[in-house]
Every structure is written in structure tokens, then in C-alpha cells.
Symmetry: C2
Subunit: 210 residues, 2 copies
């Protein structure tokens, strides 16, 4: 097992600190081998029973992208209509998706009952399957950040509608719709914090004792 | 934004590759500041709307630990009884928990409807809240691996029973029960793969195209 140096561990902290939910992208595409590398790295994520339930989908078809964009606009407008006053204004000012600019769209799906892994470890907690896919997405995100590539996770969409747009087997579930590309404005502070939406809570950094 | 060197990125690959689900632990405890650092690092994980829904619980009380151990034994026996023949034997040979040896037990809970974050981003996909906690666990796991510390995620437990054992607010949900300590047998190949339980699928490393 390799020993990780103090220098590496400090840079790893930087990586965690600088991994941002990117919403502002340059439009130039990434080289294909770079995207392939990110996918291979994502597949090193842990998965319950080694079930690898994730499915990574590149969405390149302009009509499908436009349909996802339209679904986002609908869901975003509805989220906005539920909020009043200053809150709504603040919400509207947050540019919540890089869908228009990001050169690459990646949908990440998960198989809820994969044959691979033969059910090990998910008998009493079947959600661990989906959670494995979440860790693959997080791995993709960290590897992208280390390569100077931005990832934005769009969750203001209707998962069933997007699954229909993508024409995927309905047994799969949509976990994330990712915008991927070079970031236009890197920052170490979350945009939500910079724009006064929310701040981190110090009590989360304390152990609860039992 | 820092630039991450090719050397760092190669070591990051090593980290992803060597992050294992550890089931064999030494019994000596970790220094408290090391555990505190891991928790602070975990809190750098992304969370939907910056909601930080995670709650990290140190389980030190020997009676609570014994009760969790008993619940694992019950669930493991039941999982075993559902499997026949060689499969069952292989399953039994897998030592599925380091619960007996690991010096530290960490339960990770999630608030399903946190006030923090004010609902942003979770209107159509409320599970993104739990998924944020999953990424905090994954961050904890990676930081631990970089520090030479092993983490094993125990999922063969009944979440409701364990929540009762921990006497936590039932509005919270149990996401993971982690064993933490120095690993006794580091390895780059998943134990499930080494023991012939399952192997990685190469087709996962190919894009699906839409």
C-alpha cells in the first residue's frame, strides 16, 4: 500500500476545498480521452457487493439536450413560484444551471437491483446500491476538479421526464444530470455562500457522542 | 484556484485505487485530533443547497456497540440462510465486519428535510439530501485512506433498530455505520474480488451514447 505524503494530503484538502458545483462554463469541448479517463476513474468508486450499479450516459443529441433544458426551466420556474419576496429574488439571481454553456452533458443512472454483486450487503439497506452510484459521481467530480475541469450537478429536473427524454430502460433510475466543461469562474467558496443563500454550520464539524 | 500537478493526479488515482472497504483492523485507537480532522474534512463535501444534512456520531458506549454487533449478527445470519450451497459458504467466509476489532465506531445519519439550505435544489429530487451525506462519508473515507486509516462500511444491519440503540431523534435516518482504525491487511484489490465473490465489469467503463 502506498504511503501518502503530507504534501499530497495537503493538496487533497485543497482538492476537497476547491471542488465546486460549477455553473459557469467555457464552451470549448474537452478532448475525448480526458472524458474517457474521468469515466474510468469514476469506476474505482466503492460499490455495495462490488455491484457497480452506475450507468454513465453522454447526452450529445441537441434535441434531447433541449428537452432536458426545457424540463429544467419548467421545474425552476415552479420552484421560484413557491418562494416569496427577497428569497425568490435571491433564488432567481442564482444561475442554477450551466446547461446552456457546458459542452458536455452526462446523465448518471443507477440500476436499483443489479445482478452483479449478487445482493451482498444490500438486504437490509437496499438504498446502498444507489449510494454506490452517488460515490461514483463524487469520484468523477473530484478527478475532474484535479484536472481543472468543472462539474455542475443539476437536480432541478423531473427524473421521470428526463428518463423518457433519454429513452433509457425505465428500470434504471436517474441519479444526476451533470454539466461538464472548463469552468469560467473558479472559486473556493460555494456560490450559494458567496451570494448569501446559505452558510456552513460549525456544529456539523463537532461529533455527536453516544 | 490551485493547479494540480500530474504527480498529484497520479497519486489521487492511487488513492481511489487503494481506498478499500476495510474489514480487518488493528485494535489500537487513533489520536483524537486525527479523528477530528477527518470529520472537518468530511464537512467539505458537496451538499444540495449547502444544506449539510449529515450528522456524525461517535459510538463509544460498550453496551450500544454490543447491541449493534448483535443486530449485525442477526442480519448476517438471515442473509446467509437465504443463500444455498457454495454461494452460502463463500458468503460465510467473507468476514463482513470489523465490528469486533475496530477501535472506533462512527454512525452517520442524515436529516431528510433540513432547514439549512432552504430546500434549494431538492424540490423534484428530495433524495439529493441523503446523497449529500453519502458524499460526506466518501470524503471521510478518502481522507482516512490518505492518512493510512481504514474505514469499513457496515450495511448488514437493521437501520431502525440501530437508530433505537443509538437513541437518536427518529426524524434522522441512518446512512452508514462505519468501523474506523488502522488496517491490518491493506490491499489494492477489493476483498470481494480476491475471494471470488464478484469482479468488475469492463462495460461500466464505456459510455452509453444518447
Amino acid at each position: 500500500m502506498p504511503e501518502f505524503s503530507p504534501v499530497f494530503r495537503e493538496q487533497l484538502q485543497d482538492l476537497f476545498r476547491w471542488r465546486r458545483d460549477v455553473r459557469h462554463f467555457r464552451r470549448d469541448p474537452l478532448p475525448e480521452p480526458v472524458l474517457d479517463d474521468l469515466l474510468r476513474t469514476a469506476c474505482l468508486a466503492p460499490s455495495v457487493g462490488l455491484s457497480e450499479p452506475w450507468r454513465f450516459v453522454r447526452v450529445d443529441d441537441p434535441r434531447r439536450r433541449a428537452a432536458v433544458r426545457a424540463d429544467f426551466a419548467r421545474c425552476n420556474a415552479s420552484a421560484l413560484s413557491d418562494r416569496a419576496g427577497a428569497d425568490a429574488q435571491r433564488y432567481a439571481r442564482l444561475k442554477l444551471a450551466g446547461l446552456d454553456d457546458a459542452p458536455h452533458h452526462v446523465a448518471v443512472l443507477s440500476h436499483p437491483e443489479p445482478a452483479q454483486g449478487r445482493g451482498l450487503g444490500r438486504g437490509t439497506m437496499p438504498q446502498t446500491t444507489t449510494w454506490s452510484t452517488v460515490m461514483a459521481i463524487h469520484t468523477f467530480w473530484l478527478a475532474a476538479t484535479a484536472a481543472g475541469i468543472g462539474v455542475g450537478w443539476v437536480s432541478i429536473i423531473d427524473p421521470e421526464r428526463v428518463m423518457a427524454v433519454l429513452d433509457m430502460d425505465p428500470v434504471l433510475e436517474l441519479v444526476a444530470y451533470l454539466c461538464v466543461g472548463y469552468p469560467a469562474q473558479p472559486a473556493s467558496t460555494p456560490e450559494l455562500e458567496r451570494r448569501g443563500w446559505e452558510r456552513r454550520a460549525p456544529e456539523r464539524r463537532e461529533w455527536i457522542r453516544r
